[in-house]
C-alpha cells in the first residue's frame, strides 16, 4: 500500500499462479499439502460428568467397525474391476483406518490403561473385537461390497451426525471429521448401486443377490444405534432409483458388539495381526 516493493508484489494477483505454497518445502508439489490435524486445539481431558469407561467402550466399538471394514476394503487392491475403482475403495478404507486410529488412541487415553492404537488393533483376539458382523463378512463380488458399503456408511454416518454433539470433545471432533468422509462413502456406494441395479441383466441380478446376502445382517445394526429411520430412508431412495426391491429387514440375530462373530473374523485378524505379533517390539 505504501508503494514499496513488498506491497506491490502482494497485490499482484497473477503472481499466485506461479507460486507454490508459503512453505518452500512444498514447492515440488503442484498444489502443496497443508494438512489439518482434526484434533487441533481440542482439549483431551475428559470433562466432568462424562463416563470415561463408556467413552472408551464406544471408541473401541466404532474403531473395530472401521478397522475391520478397512481391512476388507483393502482386499480389493489388485482385484478391483478397474484401476480407478481400486484406488477409490482403498481411499475409503484409508479414511476408515484413520478414524480407527483416532478412536483407539482416545480409548487408550480415557480407559486408564494408556494403551496405544497398536495394542487394540494387533493384540486382541477375535472374541475381544466388538465390530458388527456385517463388517467382517468376506468381500464377495463387487456388488456385495457396494451394498455392504452403502448400508454400513449410511448407518455410521447417521450415528456420527449425532455423535458430533457428544460431551467428550475428542469423540465429538472425530465424529465431525468422519461425517464428511462418510458422506462421500455413502455417495460413492449409492451411485454404484444405482448404476449396477439399473444396468445390465447381469449387474441387476448380482445386486439383488448382494441385497439378499446383506439384509440378514442389517437388523443387528439397529440394535446397536437407533438410526433405523435414516438408513431405511437411504435404502428406499437408492433401491427405488436402482429398480431393486426394498429389502424386508428381519430382526437381529447374534451380536458382534457382544463378541459373537462369524467364522470369518478370526482369519481376517490373523492376517492383519501376523506381522505385529511376529515382531512385537518392532517400530515403523
Amino acid at each position: 500500500m505504501s508503494g514499496s516493493d513488498t506491497a506491490h508484489d502482494d497485490d499482484h494477483v497473477y503472481l499466485s499462479l506461479a507460486e507454490g505454497h508459503d512453505d518452500g518445502s512444498d514447492a515440488r508439489w503442484a498444489f502443496g499439502t497443508g494438512f489439518e490435524d482434526p484434533l487441533y486445539g481440542v482439549d483431551t481431558t475428559v470433562p466432568e460428568g462424562v463416563d470415561a469407561g463408556e467413552v472408551a467402550a464406544t471408541c473401541v466399538e466404532l474403531a473395530d467397525d472401521a478397522l475391520v471394514s478397512a481391512q476388507r476394503l483393502a482386499q480389493w487392491c489388485t482385484r478391483a474391476p478397474e484401476l480407478e475403482e481400486e484406488v477409490a475403495l482403498a481411499n475409503i478404507g484409508l479414511d476408515l483406518l484413520g478414524q480407527a486410529r483416532l478412536l483407539y488412541a482416545r480409548a487408550g487415553q480415557v480407559d486408564g490403561t494408556g494403551r496405544d492404537e497398536d495394542a487394540y488393533a494387533y493384540f486382541r483376539d477375535a472374541g475381544d473385537f466388538r465390530n458388527v458382523r456385517l463388517a467382517e463378512l468376506p468381500i464377495g463380488d463387487f456388488a456385495f461390497s457396494i451394498v455392504r458399503l452403502l448400508v454400513l456408511s449410511s448407518w455410521r454416518l447417521a450415528h456420527f451426525e449425532r455423535l458430533a454433539a457428544h460431551h467428550d470433545p475428542v469423540l465429538a471432533a472425530i465424529a465431525a471429521k468422519g461425517v464428511k468422509e462418510l458422506t462421500y462413502h455413502r455417495q460413492y456406494a449409492a451411485e454404484w448401486a444405482v448404476r449396477l441395479g439399473d444396468g445390465t441383466d447381469e449387474s441387476h441380478r448380482r445386486m439383488r443377490s448382494a441385497l439378499d446376502q446383506v439384509t440378514p445382517y442389517i437388523g443387528e445394526l439397529f440394535t446397536v444405534y437407533d438410526v433405523e429411520g435414516d438408513v431405511v430412508e437411504v435404502l428406499r431412495q437408492v433401491t427405488e432409483a436402482a429398480g431393486l426391491p426394498m429389502p424386508q429387514i428381519p430382526a437381529a440375530h447374534g451380536a458382534g458388539r457382544d463378541g459373537q462373530h462369524t467364522e470369518h473374523l478370526a482369519p481376517l485378524l490373523a492376517e492383519l495381526q501376523s506381522v505385529a505379533r511376529a515382531h512385537p517390539e518392532a517400530t515403523w
Binding site: 497473477y14 494438512f35 451411485e191
Partner: protein, 98 residues
C-alpha cells in the same frame, strides 16, 4: 481386440484448481463410464493429497489440439515479434500495479 477396446470406458482429461490457484491445471487422465463417474474418479485419483478445490473433466475426444506438424506455422512467427511485449515505454515511478 477391437471388440474388447469398445468395451473399455472412455478416456477423460482432468483439470484441478488448487487452493491458491486461479485457473484449472491439467493433471492427468482417467477412464470412466460417464461424466459423473469421471468426477468421482478424479476426486479419488487426483485430489487425495489435499490438492484441489474444484475439478473439471472432459472427454479426451472432445479436446481439439494443435498438431506437431503445425508447430512452425503456429508458433515460430511469434518468436521474433519483440514489439508485442509492452516494454517500449517508461513507467513512471509513482505508478503501481504494472
Amino acid at each position: 481386440m477391437s471388440n474388447e477396446m469398445s468395451n473399455e470406458w472412455p478416456l477423460y482429461e482432468v483439470f484441478v484448481r488448487g487452493k491458491r490457484g486461479l485457473n484449472h491445471v491439467h493433471v492427468g487422465s482417467l477412464h470412466a463410464a460417464d461424466d459423473r463417474m469421471a468426477l468421482t474418479h478424479a476426486r479419488d485419483l487426483y485430489t487425495r493429497r489435499n490438492e484441489g478445490v474444484s475439478i473439471w473433466v472432459v472427454r479426451s475426444e472432445h479436446i481439439a489440439a494443435s498438431s506437431r506438424d503445425e508447430k512452425d506455422p503456429f508458433f515460430a512467427p511469434s518468436a521474433d515479434k519483440v514489439y508485442r511485449h509492452p516494454t517500449f515505454y517508461d513507467i513512471p515511478d509513482d505508478v503501481p500495479h504494472i
